[in-house]
């Protein structure tokens, strides 16, 4: 006798009512401001606002700076994360704390610190200017540096956590098969922590895109050069609230598009 095959059905967990209420409040906290923004958007004027050179310049600069910052963070942050996850050396805990400090530091303080390091009379700034003719403060490069400074820690700690939770015996297996340390890193370690790399990069990029304090302090607010979207929004709020709303909406749409686009392709979410 053939037994009827039943599809396994998942039993829905019984949710405590109080939990659902609190979750609802939590969700509303994010949804209501979004609705507020949508309701107040002057949709009729949006298109004109969007085509204004100031908005386009700010958007272009924001994307350039945030993606550049993410690229720099990947190049330097992944090796740093690997160092923290795999090596033990004196002062590691302190160094690690210093690296993630920008996450808790008010960004303005970060901007001041950057000025003292790379400013005209800063620790390295004078040397950079006289030796290489490089001036970082109040330039687009400066904006990128400021964003990297604030956003890279997100990448470092995410990738470090991924490296720590990874089964390092895969690396052992690769080595017994004759892979050099460099090959192990490229062909085994990094592919295995890809979800962490992607998550770290997205977090880093999102933080860079929204960066305000360190950027305005270190790079200033020059339209087309250092005036990124958040800066433009803040300034427009004083002079032209409608423009501020449209700018916010653009920022929102770009963020959502990138987050959703990356989610399926890179984060391995099903």
């Amino acid at each position: 006798m053939a037994l009827p095959v039943r599809k396994p059905t998942r039993v829905r967990p019984a949710a405590p009512v109080a939990l659902l209420v609190l979750a609802g409040v939590g969700a509303a906290f994010f949804v209501i401001p979004l609705i507020g923004l949508m309701l107040r958007t002057p949709w009729a004027a949006t298109w004109d606002q969007l085509r204004s050179p100031e908005v386009l310049a700010a958007l272009r600069l924001s994307l350039l700076a945030s993606f550049s910052a993410t690229a720099i963070a990947l190049v330097f942050g992944v090796p740093l994360a690997w160092t923290f996850a795999r090596l033990t050396f004196p002062g590691r805990a302190v160094l690690r704390a210093v690296t993630v400090l920008p996450m808790v530091l008010p960004p303005v303080v970060g901007g001041v610190a950057l000025l003292l390091a790379f400013g005209r009379r800063g620790l390295l700034g004078g040397w950079l200017a006289t030796t290489f003719g490089i001036h970082l403060p109040f330039t687009t490069t400066g904006a990128i540096i400021a964003e990297t400074f604030v956003a890279m820690p997100f990448l470092v700690i995410t990738v470090e956590a991924g490296l720590r939770s990874m089964d390092t015996r895969f690396e052992d297996a690769a080595r017994t098969l004759g892979a050099s340390r460099w090959t192990v890193l490229w062909r085994v370690t990094l592919p295995l922590v890809r979800p962490s790399l992607a998550a770290g990069a997205v977090l880093c990029w999102a933080r860079a895109l929204g960066e305000f304090g360190a950027t305005i302090t270190f790079a200033g607010n020059f339209p087309g050069r250092t005036q990124t979207m958040p800066l433009a929004v803040y300034l427009a709020l004083e002079t032209n609230p409608d423009a501020a709303i449209v700018l916010s909406l653009v920022l929102l749409a770009v963020s959502l598009a990138v987050l959703i686009g990356l989610r399926d392709r890179w984060l391995g979410a099903s």
């Binding site: 015996r169 895969f170 052992d172 690769a174 017994t176 098969l177 892979a179 295995l192």
Partner: protein, 344 residues
């Protein structure tokens, strides 16, 4: 070789001949995996040396250490550790690619290996979709594709279902037989060790206790661990004029015990139990208390506390006749001719 990890210390002197299949058998935590990692170069030695085909791979005193990737040693890991992001084919080709073989040549060799283990149809798939037995064969192909002189296998059957283990063990033995280098297998499963190996090596608490053919080891156990595996009583003591004074207390009289430190083996089947003190032929008679009774097939294994403690195997009928239960006191008798004695 000697190596230490924290408080754990492994101290082993092992010589393996070319073409041998050696099984290292020992309880969990005996240092089996550390031994393999030491050989593979994943764990540097603290002292001693590792030599393969006359080449020193690790000798701290001489400042020699050949890193894993440059040793002609391949390893099959306990849960196979197939790279989940690579296809089955890329997994098998990994070793060759890492050692600088061209892509086309590595792919061709990997295909040949997959064919040998009967998995060419799985080549384009990811290892996640393989069954345990298939994963084992891919791991074996991946290890052998690099043509190592020494193949290490860490508990190769442990990750498999008990139901498929017998068939897969036969498969694995066939595949291992086609490889001519030294095969060193680590396991805590005595059946696996006996089925696969030319030579058994018993490791316990980081020490090599015994090494020999499966028959030698099982007939003349030199540790309680092996004695328990084989199911015999093992005693250690000092013999003098056919009387062995045991280290744990008590003594045994055995025919031809000789002189000096000896092991004595008593098979549980040869241990007789009596309600009252027997006055018959057994030369060894002492009183003991039944600590535990355990029905095994058509026999009852009776654990007896006394000087010395011993395990007896009797029929259920005998237990009924004796009226024997846990905590009861009985007389134990062992004939002097039933005790196998060999030098310690």
């Amino acid at each position: 070789m000697r190596l230490g990890i924290g408080a754990f210390e492994l101290d082993v002197d092992l010589k393996v001949e070319a073409g041998e299949v050696v099984a290292v058998l020992g309880p969990n935590g005996a240092g089996k995996t550390s031994l393999l990692r030491g050989l593979a170069g994943l764990l540097p030695l603290d002292a001693g040396r590792v030599v393969l085909d006359g080449v020193v791979l690790d000798e701290p005193a001489a400042g020699v250490f050949v890193p894993s990737e440059r040793r002609p040693i391949a390893m099959v890991f306990q849960d196979y550790l197939l790279f989940p992001h690579l296809t089955v084919l890329e997994n098998v080709a990994f070793g060759l690619r890492s050692r600088g073989t061209s892509r086309s040549e590595a792919t061709a060799t990997a295909h040949r290996w997959l064919e040998r283990v009967g998995l060419q149809t799985e080549a384009p798939r990811k290892p996640g979709s393989l069954s345990g037995g298939q994963a084992q064969r891919v791991a074996l192909a991946r290890a052998l594709a690099t043509s190592p002189s020494l193949l290490l296998l860490d508990e190769p059957m442990a990750a498999l279902d008990a139901s498929t283990r017998v068939d897969l063990r036969r498969d694995l033995r066939c595949h291992l037989e086609s490889f001519r280098g030294v095969r060193l297998l680590v396991t805590h499963d005595p059946v696996e060790a006996l089925a696969m190996a030319d030579r058994l090596v018993i490791l316990e608490q980081g020490r090599l206790l015994q090494s020999g053919s499966p028959a030698e080891v099982t007939q003349h156990p030199r540790s309680r661990y092996v004695a328990d595996l084989v199911g015999v009583n093992l005693f250690r003591g000092r013999a003098s004029h056919d009387v062995i004074t045991l280290a744990e207390g008590g003594s045994l009289t055995a025919a031809g015990a000789g002189e000096g430190d000896v092991f004595a083996v008593v098979h549980p089947r040869t241990v007789a139990l009596y309600r009252t003190r027997p006055d018959g032929t057994p030369r060894n008679v002492w009183e003991g208390r039944a600590v535990d009774l355990d029905l095994q097939g058509d026999r009852v294994r009776v654990q007896l506390a006394g000087a010395p403690r011993i395990v007896a195997e009797v029929t259920p009928a005998a237990v009924r006749e004796l009226g024997l239960d846990r905590g009861d006191t009985v007389w134990i008798g062992v004939k002097a001719t039933e005790i196998v004695v060999y030098p310690a």
